[in-house]
């Protein structure tokens, strides 16, 4: 479904991604972890072309992301994305947030988009808040709405960029629960996160990145059982110790 081959990216002289390669199969859940500044957020943003890259290829469902001929908006409309800071549109109500792209991008009729949006809002347990504005919801609630907003586009895959790291601890689980459910339903997911509990529960594979490179790319059990690289070991012991 998502194929990343030899991707490199530079900001001026500084290399943020060096020669990254991996694959995400249909229905697979892949967790990407690593210390901050390791390039994991940049990599996931390359997948739907939000960040340009200078070398290598990324192919999503047969479409090459880096090709100048690719209709990026069209590709993006088929790949859902959830951000660290939710990025709901603060000037639009929850319902409008859920329907805007359905109407403007997919050309769905008003009531169809509304029905779809409200059904998904119900699924994330927030149907009572449809008329509110994002600023009136808690962080955890906003992130659940953001997931519903992405799902409303009927995506073929979902990208999560540190979806819980801006949340207060007591709200992390309500978001993770939604993501676990999604994974169990067979959604193809690429998730940048530090939540190793989530990775243990639903991930098929774990990718460990450091200094712009993919250091380890292993099955979940292998990764948690016996990580090969020293850096991954150090990272795991740090993150699992508390």
């Amino acid at each position: 479904m998502i194929s990343i081959q030899n991707v490199s990216k530079w900001y001026g002289d500084f290399q943020v991604l060096s020669d990254c390669s991996t694959e995400v199969q249909k229905g697979e859940v892949v967790v990407v972890c690593g210390p901050s500044g390791s390039g994991k957020s940049t990599l996931i943003k390359c997948v739907n072309g939000l960040e340009p890259f200078q070398a290598g290829t990324i192919v999503v469902d047969g479409t090459s992301v880096g090709s100048p001929k690719t209709d990026l908006p069209k590709l993006r409309s088929r790949v859902g994305m959830v951000f660290q800071h939710f990025e709901l549109f603060p000037h639009l109500s929850i319902t409008e947030n859920l329907t805007l792209a359905q109407r403007k991008v997919l050309g769905r009729k008003d009531d169809e988009a509304r029905r779809k949006g409200l059904a998904l809002l119900d699924r994330v347990g927030l149907s009572a808040h449809a008329a509110k504005f994002p600023g009136q919801l808690s962080g955890g609630q906003q992130q659940r709405v953001a997931i519903a907003r992405a799902l409303a586009m009927d995506p073929i895959a979902m990208l999560f960029d540190e979806p819980t790291s801006a949340l207060d601890p007591e709200m992390i689980n309500e978001v993770l629960d939604v993501m676990v459910e999604l994974a169990r339903e067979g959604m193809t997911m690429m998730v940048v996160t530090h939540e190793m509990g989530f990775a243990r529960k639903v991930a098929n594979r774990v990718i460990f990145m450091d200094r712009g490179a993919i250091v380890e790319d292993a099955d979940k059990d292998e990764f948690f059982g016996s990580p090969r690289s020293e850096r991954a070991q150090a990272f795991l012991s740090k993150i699992l110790s508390h």
Binding site: E87, P90, A101, G135, A150
Partner: protein, 248 residues
């Protein structure tokens, strides 16, 4: 003090038909308002386009808008007015030039010159406000909009501009008020707006204190009224639960 105050002067006949001096002020106010509103429409539209251009990824658009802003900000308004009024008509195609200079009523051609001049002048200022507003938004907002598959014009129209405009209502209000004040330069090319009518009344009646006091009061009241209106607008478009935008 050997000055004879006479506030009844405004109700005296000007000697032209049944006109009283107050009528001059009303006519003048009419021109001032018409000038300001039409210039503001140009400034708002053009300024928004330029402001958006300054935030686009493409080098050319951003550079063009920057040059525009620097040019229109660093040449005095009056010089710009002289250029629009004395020079530009000469550069028009011959037919248009004759139409502008001969067929149009002098007040109409002056009106057009001032409107274009003030509109383009103010657009440079509006541009900077719009740019500031857009850049004050978290970068993730544009990213999220693109991630949903929206195209660039939709991202600006639906996501960035509605938020940016809410942020910049206060500075835009003061630009709006500036347009009213700046429209007084029209008096220097003979358009009988409020200031020109005031001067004329002062010269005709020798009651210059009364004339200028009335003009001052009109500008002052106009200013206050516009400020109240804009405050109302700000309140109306306020988004519930949103205290400060652009936190990150």
């Amino acid at each position: 003090m050997n000055y004879n105050w006479d506030w009844s002067v405004f109700f005296k006949s000007t000697g032209i038909g049944s006109e009283i001096y107050l009528d001059w002020f009303i006519t003048g106010l009419g021109w001032t308002v018409a000038l300001s509103l039409s210039s503001w429409v140009i400034a708002l539209l053009l300024g928004t386009v330029l402001g958006v251009m300054r935030t686009l990824p493409g080098r050319f658009a951003a550079r063009f808008a920057t040059v525009y802003v620097e040019l229109f900000r660093n040449v005095p308004l009056l010089v710009q007015l002289f250029v629009w009024y004395f020079l530009v008509p000469d550069w028009l195609p011959e037919k248009l030039e004759l139409w502008f200079k001969q067929d149009l009523h002098p007040a109409t051609s002056a009106f057009i010159s001032v409107t274009v001049c003030l509109g383009l002048f103010t657009a440079a200022r509006v541009c900077e406000q719009v740019r500031t507003g857009i850049q004050a938004l978290p970068r993730g907002q544009a990213m999220a909009a693109y991630a949903l598959g929206l195209r660039l014009p939709q991202v600006y129209r639906k996501v960035l501009l509605p938020q940016a405009f809410r942020i910049i209502i206060p500075p835009l209000t003061s630009e709006f008020l500036n347009v009213f004040k700046n429209s007084s330069v029209a008096s220097l090319i003979g358009l009988m707006e409020l200031l020109a009518q005031t001067k004329q009344t002062a010269e005709f009646t020798a009651n210059l204190f009364e004339a200028f006091t009335l003009a001052t009061v009109i500008y002052f009241v106009l200013n206050m009224a516009l400020m109240l209106i804009m405050r109302g607008v700000e309140k109306r478009v306020r988004v519930p639960g949103l205290i400060a935008l652009g936190g990150k």
